[in-house]
Symmetry: C2
Subunit: 156 residues, 2 copies
Amino acid sequence: MSTAIISKQELLEHWLGHRKLTRQTIEKFPEEELFHYKVEGMRTFADMLKELLALAVPGLQEIVDNKSGELNENLSYSTKAQLLQAWDEATPILIDLFNKIPEERFAEEFNLFGQYKSPVVHSILYFIDNEIHHRGQGFVYLRMLGIQPPFFWERG
Amino acid sequence: MSTAIISKQELLEHWLGHRKLTRQTIEKFPEEELFHYKVEGMRTFADMLKELLALAVPGLQEIVDNKSGELNENLSYSTKAQLLQAWDEATPILIDLFNKIPEERFAEEFNLFGQYKSPVVHSILYFIDNEIHHRGQGFVYLRMLGIQPPFFWERG
């Protein structure tokens, strides 16, 4: 068989680097704007973060358990401290769950949240891509608020 | 050795799906706003696209040639048709170059544009992530212009 282009551990580290940058982005928001500022037709950055939190750990849990559940984005965090705490608490759980998925399962189809049927690796790439997408939108909100976002390439 | 979590071909297809979505995003912009609309402190979506064009094919070419060059984002496209044409012309070249990189080289360090030293797979993930990041920003510009962006999950 051919050489792997990226290992499971490298993909996890790539994701964790993005999560650090997203955390830095949350920190840059003033509390009021985090929960109330938005562009017409869009959500607040806090609501986007609730989506990210609703996807990552619950999604990985479903994959590990091999059992579809329901997507619930209605998370009750209402302060920046709560959101940061939820983000920080999710990270070690995410690492633990990710590590529990055997390499062989990445190519297997799974019906995520009972509605998104795709290979496990696609669901995981979706979690990462969706985080990058919404964080990019958070960067625009920060610029509109006159705040310099973190550097995109810094993941430390 | 362990099972690969994603094949080289799958990573390419993942990128091509994102490129289709970015193309759809370009198409949604009115020509005037594509080149002139921006948020204070940010670039126009056209300038972000020029960066993406300056990275992908030239970056892959350097990797294939194993020879660092200089990054040149000053591309002279000044109409939407030119940008779309450049995007479309880049795609088959990108596919050809990507296919020329042996799996074994993805883990090798390469000094991209003579300044970004990292494993080849990280440079390629950066090209994809950076496209997602800036396209997410383009989505905000579209919303600010009262235009509905494409659906993030549609890559067809």
